[in-house]
Structures are given as C-alpha cells and as structure tokens.
C-alpha cells in the first residue's frame, strides 16, 4: 500500500471536472455511504434514458456540502485498494485564484482538465502556472470529451504538444497527458478500446502508482526548529519536522544562523527513541553540547544554506489591499516569523501569458517579482531546492491578513557583501555622554490638532532641563530630505520610512527626537515603530476634527472642502486613530502648558 496522495483538480466546470471524479469514484466503487444512498443516487442518475450522469454523484454531494460557499477549496477523501487519496477540489474562476492556490500548495499532484473540443485555453495555463509556482512537480492533463472529437489521435497530440511546450520551463518531474471521456468512462478506471493508440495507464491506476516523493531524502538534512523543549535541566530537545535528507544518532549538524557544530546525541521520532530519522517525520533532536538555537533556526548538514537578509521572490498577491513598495509585513518563512519590507517591485507576470508587465502597484490575484529585505538575517533556500525553507507568507501587520504567498527565487548577494560596520563609539556611549536616554517622540494627529506647537513646546522644556534634542517637522522635511516625494501612496510610505530612519539615526547619536507628522495610517506608524524600536513613543494629539477645522491655521481645510486639495486627511482621506497610543493629549481640553506638562511627566521615567 502506497502512502497518501494529495492531489487537486482544476479546470472550469464545463470541462467536466465533477463528471470525471464522479465517474472514477463510481467505477472503482469508492463512493456510497450506504445502500440507501446508493439507491437514491441510482434512481437519480438512472433517470436520463439510461444515460448515467456521473456529475450528479458529485454535484449531489457538493450541493449538500457547500451550503452557499462555492468559492473555496473543498477537501474529499477516498481510498482504493492500493492507496488513500485526498482531493482538493478547487474553484475555477479567476477571481478565486488565491483559493485555487491554497489547494495547489496543499497538493503533490494536479489533475488539470481540458475540453478536447476547445484545447488549451487561458485558464488551463493559469492553473498550470499557479500549480507550478506553488511547488507541484507532477501534472496530469486529462484531455476530456474525447468522444466528441471521435477519439482523434491527431487532435489529442496537438493538445498534448501545446501543453508540453507551455510547461517546458516549469521544472516538472512528471507530466502525463491522458485522453479521457468523463461521461463515457474511457481511460478513467480502465483502458479504453476507443483509444488503442494511447499507451499509458488509465487515470485511477496512474494516480495509484505514481511516486510523488521528492528526491529530497537524498538531499542534505534540514530541520527548521519549531520549538525548544526543556522539561528539565537534563533534557533540551529541538522539535520540528524533517524537511529534507535524513539523520542518524552521532551525525554532525550545523546550527544556523549561529553556525555552531554539534553531534546528535539522541533522536525521538514522535515519542519513540530512534537511531535515525528521515523526511516528513516529527522529531525531537538532542545535541551533545550547548548551542544557541531557538524557534525559527535550522539544524542542517548543508553548510551552503543561505543566511542572509535579502532575496528576490515571486509573490502571489492575495490581499484586497494593494501592494506598494516600501510596505512592511511580517514574513513567516519555515518556522521563523520576522518583519520584512517589500523593497523593489520589479515587474508583474501576466498570469495567462507569462509575460513581464511593468508595475508599481499590485492587486489581488496578481503575480509579481520583487525584492524583500528582512529585519535580520534568516535561514532560507531557493524554493526549488527546499519548499519548506523557500516558501513564505506575508502577514499584514494591522489586519493580520495573509496578504501574499511567495517563493524565494534567489538570495541577493548584496546581503552578504554589505555588512554592518562595527564602530567603537556606540549608541550607549554617545547617550551616556549626553546624560540621557535617546527617545523618539512621535506626534501624530490631524492637521491643526496642535502637533507642531506642542512638539515645539515640549522641546523647549526638555532643553531647559539640559537635554539634547532635535525636532523634525512634516512641512520642513518635505522642503529638503523628502522634496522628491509627492503625496501618492508609495511616496507617503517612503516619506514616513525616511523620517523613521532619520529619527533612529538621531537616537543613535544620543539625541531625543521629536517627530511631528500627521501619519494617518496605522501601518505606516507601525513601520516607524519597527524601524525605531524601543525608543519609539507614540503621542496621539487627539484634538477633534471640528476643532481642528475651526482653527484652520493654514486655511487648508477650507481648500479641501472647496475641492482644491485632493486626499486631505480628515476630509477626503481617513485618519486611523492609534488604538493604544503611549500618550494621548487633546488640545481642545487642555491648555498648551497643561499638555506640555503632561507629556514631559509621562516620559520622565524613560528619560532618566
């Protein structure tokens, strides 16, 4: 008995997907909960003048199962005498590409259907491309409705050739093209007399026999660490699933990124002591000496594995919000989760043709090639070498949505060549000399809320107390550092990124930075917080809109209301108020002096 085969089916409904799977289950007697149900179904399928409509078998179940959720991947389970199968039945429509990708990322093999009368269409190519991107190395192309083209070998070969040409660059390990008729049952569970020229196996037998195990067991050993288990002083086990290769007790492994060497002292495969462990097994590894390893690190025998902080990737964008350059996300790669920034959008890939398309924004269900910079060095590999260390997701830091699925194409060499230059005079030394803790006081709030006035007052107070400060103001920065930036989204993100980096440099110099920017989006402020780190203090100047508008110091609200300024925060574009600001002041409720006192009092402790 072979191991589990996880496969997905794709192709449009018209291509006969339900009929094909229904016929396969029916012929192989793999269906039917009980005889009652069998009879009920028999009476249904028998009602068309003796012609059996096999799609009713599956659609009948589907209608029950789906309960109005027709857009998502559904999982079905069956077992033949030789193998257990899980089928991910995926939606065909372009709009649900991301759900199709979910099924593809789950499966080891794809059965793609084409209609012999129509041949390879755009959708066939889209599905094949997504399958390949998600790591599927085995494709079955079922050329359906062969009965409608009189089982014409030439027509079959034409489709076969076109598909094989299209997938030539896909790095597939196997590709099998099978002529079938889902309604008539040709080559579904048994070879058909109508296609004597076909020398392969029928579909079910092909699925039963195929070996989809990656050649990964011959590759170097890799174990991304899920968890460190420390039940007692005597036991320190690294837990995870072996992603490639195998390991024996006594073998030497390298820990990454710490690059230490140690030997395997003991191995548990689930809860059993074992002398060896291999790919796919859940293990707990004890090493013979203390090493610096925590969740997200990797135990391996491969010294060449990348430890770097930049890579080029192909992403499937899955979020309703578009992707723009400079945006910061959480990257989950292997068992490691860390912040990362989309640095450079190179181009999109036309999902149907495969052509490169220039772009600066990316929308849902689009493929894009871009560079990602991680906040620190991490262990990764090319996806084609190791799916577990080359596949990742991007998580939106505010909505927590899984925004993209990506595959690492290659590490960027620069990441190993551009290194941090260690200097002798460090931030603690510089701040000690000034007798203060460097902080960034980030003032956010509507235009006219009193941010700049307040920042100015707070700075004066700090200087009077002998502190060393620097004030960065939104308007002023746009005259210099950021004069090349406009107001569209990508520019706005970059504006805040630069200011955050400058604030951080000022902190490194030992200074207290006061940064006063509307910064209306939670995501941008989160980005600033990530860059600046622990020194970041968010001060929300929460003066209500009506008060700000009444003040209208610069006459901007009037202009915005008159339609002269597009995208004006509070009027024509939103202000996302901070959920948990460190400090909140409302200048319509407090005098300038009171607000200044309050802020200085709040930061007193951090200053010391």
């Amino acid at each position: 008995m072979k191991g589990l085969l996880k496969f997905l089916t794709c192709g449009s409904v018209d291509d006969g997907k339900s009929t094909l799977i229904g016929h396969m289950l029916y012929d192989a007697k793999l269906l039917f909960a009980d005889q009652e149900k069998a009879l009920e179904l028999d009476s249904k399928v028998g009602s068309r003048g003796g012609e059996i409509d096999y799609s009713l078998l599956l659609d009948g179940l589907m209608a029950e199962r789906e309960q109005g959720i027709t857009i998502d991947v559904a999982y079905r389970y069956f077992t033949s005498d030789n193998r257990s199968f899980i089928v991910a039945d995926t939606p065909g429509h372009e709009e649900y590409t991301r759900n199709m990708a979910v099924g593809a990322s789950f499966a080891d093999l794809a059965v793609i259907l084409v209609d012999a009368t129509k041949g390879v269409i755009a959708q066939t190519k889209r599905h094949a491309r997504i399958c390949s991107l998600m790591g599927i190395n085995h494709i079955v192309l079922a050329v359906n409705k062969m009965d409608l083209v009189d089982y014409d070998e030439a027509r079959f070969n034409e489709i076969k050739q076109e598909f094989e040409q299209f997938t030539y660059n896909f790095n597939l390990e196997s590709i099998q093209v099978i002529p079938v008729s889902a309604t008539a049952g040709d080559n579904v569970t048994k070879l058909s007399e109508n296609t004597p020229w076909y020398d392969g196996k029928p579909l079910l037998q092909y699925l039963e026999d195929i070996d989809v195990t990656d050649q990964m067991d011959e590759a170097a050993f890799t174990l991304p660490v899920q968890r460190v288990s420390r039940p007692s002083h005597q036991f320190r086990g690294f837990q995870g699933q072996v992603e490639s290769g195998q390991i024996n007790v006594g073998d030497e492994v390298i820990t990454l990124p710490s690059k230490e060497k140690a030997n395997v002292k003991s191995l548990l495969v689930s809860d059993q002591e074992s002398g060896e462990a291999g790919i796919g097994q859940a293990v707990t590894v004890q090493l013979d000496r203390e090493v610096d390893v925590s969740r997200g690190d990797v135990l391996t025998t491969n010294e060449e594995l990348n430890v770097a902080d930049k890579f080029t990737t192909t992403l499937l964008w899955m979020d309703g919000d578009e992707l723009v350059e400079g945006r910061n996300y959480l990257v989950k790669l292997g068992t490691k989760t860390l912040p990362g920034t989309v640095m450079k959008i190179k181009h999109k890939i036309d999902i149907n043709t495969g052509d490169d398309v220039p772009a600066d924004k990316v929308y849902k269900n689009e493929l894009v090639v871009c560079d990602i910079a991680l906040s620190e060095k991490a262990v990764f590999d090319k996806f084609e070498n190791n799916e577990a260390l080359g596949g990742f997701i991007l998580i939106d830091r505010v909505s927590n949505m899984t925004s993209a699925a990506g595959v690492v194409n290659h590490a960027l060499r620069r990441s190993s060549n551009v290194v941090w230059q260690d200097t002798d005079i460090t931030r603690p030394i510089r701040s000690q000399q000034k007798g203060q803790q460097p902080l960034t006081l980030w003032f956010t709030g509507l235009s006219g809320s009193g941010k700049s006035t307040l920042a100015n007052e707070v700075e004066k107070r700090l200087v009077a107390h002998g502190h060393h400060t620097m004030l960065l103001d939104g308007d002023n920065v746009r005259h210099g550092l950021n004069q090349n930036l406009g107001f569209k989204e990508a520019d706005r993100v970059e504006n805040i990124r630069r200011i955050a980096e400058v604030s951080k440099l000022m902190n490194d110099a030992g200074l207290i930075t006061l940064s006063s920017f509307i910064s209306p989006y939670e995501g941008d402020r989160q980005n600033a917080r990530d860059i600046i780190g622990e020194s970041f203090i968010e001060i929300y100047v929460s003066t209500p809109l009506e008060v700000c508008e009444e003040r209208d110091v610069k006459g901007l609200y009037q202009k915005a209301r008159d339609g002269e300024i597009p995208n004006f925060t509070g009027v024509t574009s939103p202000y996302e108020a901070p959920q948990n600001p460190d400090i909140e002041v409302d200048t319509s409720q407090m005098s300038l002096d009171e607000a200044t006192d309050y802020i200085v009092k709040q930061i007193q402790q951090q200053l010391a």
């Binding site: 909960a33 991947v73 899920q226 859940a282 596949g391 899984t402």
Partner: protein, 299 residues
C-alpha cells in the same frame, strides 16, 4: 528510509500543527469531549511534546447529562496523564433546570454552545484545539485547519484567510480567537485504524456489553441514572448494545451489537454495508447524527 504510511503522514501533520500552536499562541487549550476523536487528539498531543507534557490544559464542557462512564474515564485519564483538566458547566442553565427531555434544541444551545463560549471568555483562550474532521460534516469540508472566530465566536466561511503550505498564520486581532483542527485530514477509518495501531484506550461504551436500555422513538436509549423517567408504555430491558458516538446519554442512541473487541468494532463500523468487500469511504453518515449535532453545537 522506508516510505511513511498514510497514518504516519497524518500523525506527523497533526503533531506539526499541535506544536505550531504551542509555539505561537499565548493561551491555547484543547477541547476534550471524551470521544474517540478526542482520545486520538490527546494521544497525538502527548506524543508531540514527549518527554514533556503538553503545555496547555484540556477543557471539557459538561452538560451534566454525559454517561457516567464518560466522566469516570475523563477524570481517570487526566489524572493518569497528569494534565490539567478544566470542566465548565453552564450554571445558569443548571439553575433554570434546562434538560434534554423538555428543552430539545435550546438544551443543546444553552448547555453546549453557550457553555463553550462562557468557558472561552472566562479563560481568555486564544487558540482552541478541536477534534473536527473534514470528512464528517458538510461545512467542515471547506474549513481551514486554523479557523478564525470573531469576538462573538462566529465563523465567516466566505472570508477565510488563505492557508498556504504549512505556514499557518496565527496572528489575530484583539478579541478574536482560533479553532485549530489537527485531525482535519483524517477520515473515520483513519481514526479507528490509528486507535488500533497505537492501542489507544477509549471509553468502554464503544464496546458491546449488556446494558439497561429502553426503546424510545425508534432509538435504543440507555438508562444511565434515575433522572430519566420511564414511560408507562416503556420497559427497561437488558440488551447487549454499544455506542458509535458518545454524547449526552438521553440523546445518544445505541446499537445492538456483539462487537466487544476493537477488531470487531472496526469490522462492524467500516465493513457493515459492503458484503462484497468494496471499500466504502466517503462515509457521511457513519459519524452518526448525534455526533454531528454535537459538533454543530460546539463549533
């Protein structure tokens, strides 16, 4: 290395999922319903962390109408394994005298669904393991392994986060929580075969034994305690019965059976229909309507 069997693969997948939750979530809990799926899930949790104990407690939502044998089994297991077991009972429901005989559907809602929500809110759990399988229930066929619930514990099936490879996204907003189903890809058959392979102890009610029962509305109901009133036209008989699913005794129908070994149960459960030895696998009904109702109530 020899190729892993499909049970090996399912086991490794479930352990991976359980460890991810332990590593990434702040306050996880494992729902324990005392049934066979829960027994398998608990067994996997013990394996996942060995030689450590699972770093999370178990939670049993008690309707107060469970079979006595279930409660005995639960308490003995928790003690044996040395795992903390929370029990939650909806006291409000108990005070109002909500019971399965008089209150039907609202009984399920109050004593199961509401009780579960109370327990989760009380302890502030952010991730809740459940023993649900995709093959057992219609809506579950499309549910993710990590399934999100809003602050009202509701599932939005039309807006599920994409779940790619095994990169589970465990990040949630304040007030939200996750249901996590490590047995998502197991079938009923896998569960029974795994119980046999691993020699997992299950509640004796699954095995045929002579028990006091009455016939009621076509079901064989066990008289588990004296809270059950016997109608004038009903007669308590002693029959050799077993239970395919376990829940509240007044709502759980037994079947007459001679199967008192695991092999016989597996034979009866999986081979019952097919005399000609066809593998019968997409098996909607096997889980039984009671268990399904329970799941719907629970999740």
């Amino acid at each position: 290395m020899k190729e892993l069997t499909h049970l090996d693969q399912l086991e490794a997948e479930a352990i991976y999922i359980i460890r991810e939750v332990a590593a990434e979530c702040e306050n996880p809990v494992m729902l324990y319903s005392i049934g066979k799926d829960s027994s398998v899930m608990l067994h996997l949790a013990m394996k996942a962390f060995y030689p450590e104990k699972p770093p999370f407690p178990l939670l049993h939502v008690n309707t107060t109408w469970k079979f006595k044998e279930m409660i005995d089994f639960r308490d003995r297991k928790a003690k044996e394994l040395g795992i903390e077991m929370f029990e939650h009972i909806n006291q409000e429901g108990v005070e109002k005298g909500i019971n399965p005989f008089d209150h039907g559907a609202s009984y399920t809602d109050v004593m199961k669904t509401q009780a579960l929500k109370q327990a989760l809110d009380k302890h502030g759990f952010d991730a809740v393991f459940g023993g649900g399988r995709r093959d057992e229930e219609k809506s579950r066929a499309k549910e993710r392994v990590f399934s999100f619930r809003n602050e009202n514990h509701a599932w939005d099936p039309k807006n599920q986060k994409p779940e790619m490879w095994k990169l589970y996204n465990t990040h949630i907003n304040k007030g939200e929580s996750m249901r996590v189903f490590p047995l998502s890809n197991w079938t009923e058959k896998d569960i029974w075969q795994y119980i046999r392979r691993e020699n997992i102890e299950i509640v004796p009610l699954y095995f045929a034994k002579e028990r006091p029962v009455v016939e009621r509305d076509g079901n064989i109901v066990m008289v588990d305690d004296d809270r059950m009133s016997i109608g004038e036209d009903e007669k308590v008989e002693h029959k050799k019965v077993r239970f395919r699913t376990l829940g509240c005794y007044p709502l759980t129908g037994g079947v007459e059976s001679e199967a008192d070994t695991l092999d016989e149960i597996i034979e009866e459960t999986l081979g019952a229909v097919s005399s000609e030895r066809t593998s019968r696998v997409i098996d909607q009904e096997a889980a039984g309507s009671m268990e399904r109702r329970k799941r719907e109530g629970y999740f």
